[in-house]
Amino acid sequence: MFSYLLRRLVSGTVVLGIVSAIVFGIFFILPADPARLSCGKTCSEELIVKIRHTLELDQTLPVQYGRFIKGIFVGRTYLKGTPAELNCTAPCLGYSFQTDQPVTALLKDRLPATASIAFGASILWLLIGLSSGIVSALRRGTWIDKFSQGVALGAASLQIYFVGLVLQFIFVNKLAWLPAPGYSSPLHYPVDWVKQMALPWITLAFLLSAIYSRLTRAGMIEIMGEDYVRTARAKGLSNRTINMKHVLRGAITPIVTVFGLDLGGLLGGAVITEYVFNIPGLGKLSTDAVANLDLPVITGTVIFSAVFIIVANILVDLLYAVLDPKVRIQ
């Protein structure tokens, strides 16, 4: 178990290394000069040379990448030995060209909003998706099943930027039941937090619960045909026990897998949701960074979300071993 975890962590680190190298390569592949980008509009050749030196862009690519990686683990110092010495502590991902803030601080700043969206929405979509899927499976072929699966099919075909804008138009602009979406700290303003997050949660949950509903329904129906469910009936168990214990238990494993990966992906930035609702999360940070060619921020957000996805993958694999006793981790 421990050695398995260690191996997964090592391979995860390797993947991260590859991801970081590729993203780092953008600096050089893009037809844009980072020095010029970070310099602003009123810029002289002199200044560019200076900036190039400050950002250590005058070094070779491997040296720069090496220093970048080193910065993540032990921090780095720009302009060492000069009066303008700049100490970037680990994990250092550089400074934003736009705001000059450390990328790490930006990520830390934006994570709570994204995490709020991800966790809130995931609870909603699990509740709605699982319960409607279970009801559909148990009432297969009835109007309840047809209705909920019809809604699910429709919902799964819609897009966040459509549903989100429609909901916002109705509930914020027309009915004024909710304030404009945004982010307030749940610790200090819990009520505002819920009110502002409500639409992003509902929008995301609307689309994702559709997928979970179909997944749950299909899984349960498949398991209902298993021999061990017939055995459970032959034992004299009630339908409720059979469905909620034996059937659901058999169907839940793939759902957990998909859920782990979805949540991991979302934590790296609910890009479209944040963009549509203008919520200052990681997704918004990365789209803004792309729009402004803010290379250090792009690199930072990509690596950060890669970390979430890799960690989610490892957790899902570990969870699999808990859920399925046949999977023995060696």
Partner: protein, 341 residues
């Protein structure tokens, strides 16, 4: 005094898109406590459908079940689902062919036996676990207090079937239905399981219905044999009657197709020509007539009308459904079939 289990005119049919499948057609038989009835037939002959009907497991499905299934005088078929539910696993229980598929992969063997016990007995979990260990011990699982926490996949095939038996017998049922309990097992393990079932039957005086296509297995365990073909009972009698002097041409075919250790290895094994019929369009008359080698000795009747289930010359207990005249039948068996067995 009526029999412990009495099945009267049981019909089970399933509506499908291609038509109605008549899986069991007018089946009647009886079984006493402590006795074993072997139901023998090919795949699709209605054996398993019959056993599921006895447990009331068709309730809530699209199957249409008519007739009476009386256990201790109570008609299972007339009962509501929740009434039958309280009898399942308690009065009657069932063990299935493929124990790996029939046990839940995500629960321990102990948990599954406890569950079967707890649902019919108001006891604590600890008592149920003790019962599970006791049952595992009784069916011959070594180290039962350790193995009780194993998952089904950690058991060998034979042990899984033992665990199934432990589960089925945990509430001391009066009727046990064993649906091909040994088909998925090695021959040596088969013998052990058969012995185990026989011992347990003596101990608990259980009535057993053994569903199988293996005449070897029934010959060792059953008291009576019910031979089924295309959902119909075609011959019924004691093991001795059916194995030594069967009356139905289908039974002759089954017996002739058993390979014998003393037989000539160069001789091709006898087989019944053709395949079992589709239950949607069962052949007219006797369902077996398209495959029967003796149709010419009867004439039109075979394809025109369904023969009655009638007593043979052996007595009222031995029944057969065949148009052949009983003396002709005996002559054919003695002169043409028996010498080749």
């Amino acid at each position: 005094m009526s029999a412990f289990l009495e099945v009267k005119d049981l019909c089970v049919s399933f509506p499908t898109e291609d038509g109605v499948v008549r899986a069991v057609d007018n089946l009647s038989f009886t079984l006493e406590k402590g006795k074993t009835l072997g139901i023998v037939g090919e795949s699709g002959s209605g054996k398993s459908v019959t056993s599921l009907a006895i447990l009331g497991l068709h309730k809530g499905s699209s199957a249409h079940v008519t007739g009476e299934i009386l256990i201790d005088g109570q008609d299972i078929n007339a009962m509501a689902e929740n009434e039958v539910q309280s009898l399942r696993g308690n009065l009657m229980s069932m063990i299935f062919q493929d124990a790996l598929a029939a046990l839940h992969p995500y629960y321990t063997v102990g948990n599954q036996i406890e569950e079967a016990y707890l649902v019919h007995n108001k006891v604590s979990k600890a008592v149920a676990k003790k019962r599970a260990i006791e049952m595992l011990d009784r069916v011959g699982i070594p180290d039962p207090h350790k193995r009780v926490d194993d998952y089904p996949h950690q058991f060998s095939g034979g042990m899984r079937q033992r665990a199934m038996i432990a589960m089925a017998l945990s509430c001391n049922p009066s009727l046990l239905i064993a649906d091909e309990p040994t088909t998925a097992l090695d021959v040596t393990v088969q013998a052990q399981i058969i012995d185990l079932l026989r011992d347990l039957q003596k101990e608990f005086n259980t009535a057993i219905i053994l569903i199988t296509h293996d005449l070897g297995v029934v010959s060792e365990t059953a008291d009576d044999i019910l031979l089924m073909y295309a959902g119909k009972e075609i011959e019924f009698g004691t093991v001795r009657e059916i194995l030594q002097k069967p009356h139905h041409p289908y039974a002759w075919g089954l017996l002739s197709s058993i390979p014998r250790l003393t037989g000539n290895p160069d001789k091709a094994l006898a087989a019944i020509p053709g395949t079992p019929p589709s239950l949607i369009s069962v052949p007219s008359g006797c369902a077996f007539h398209p495959r029967c080698s003796y149709v010419s000795r009867v004439g039109q009747a075979c394809s025109a009308s369904i023969p009655e289930l009638a007593p043979t010359s052996a007595g009222a207990h031995h029944l057969v459904r065949c148009h052949l005249d009983s003396t002709i039948r005996e002559n054919i068996f003695n002169s043409e079939v028996a010498p080749n067995l």
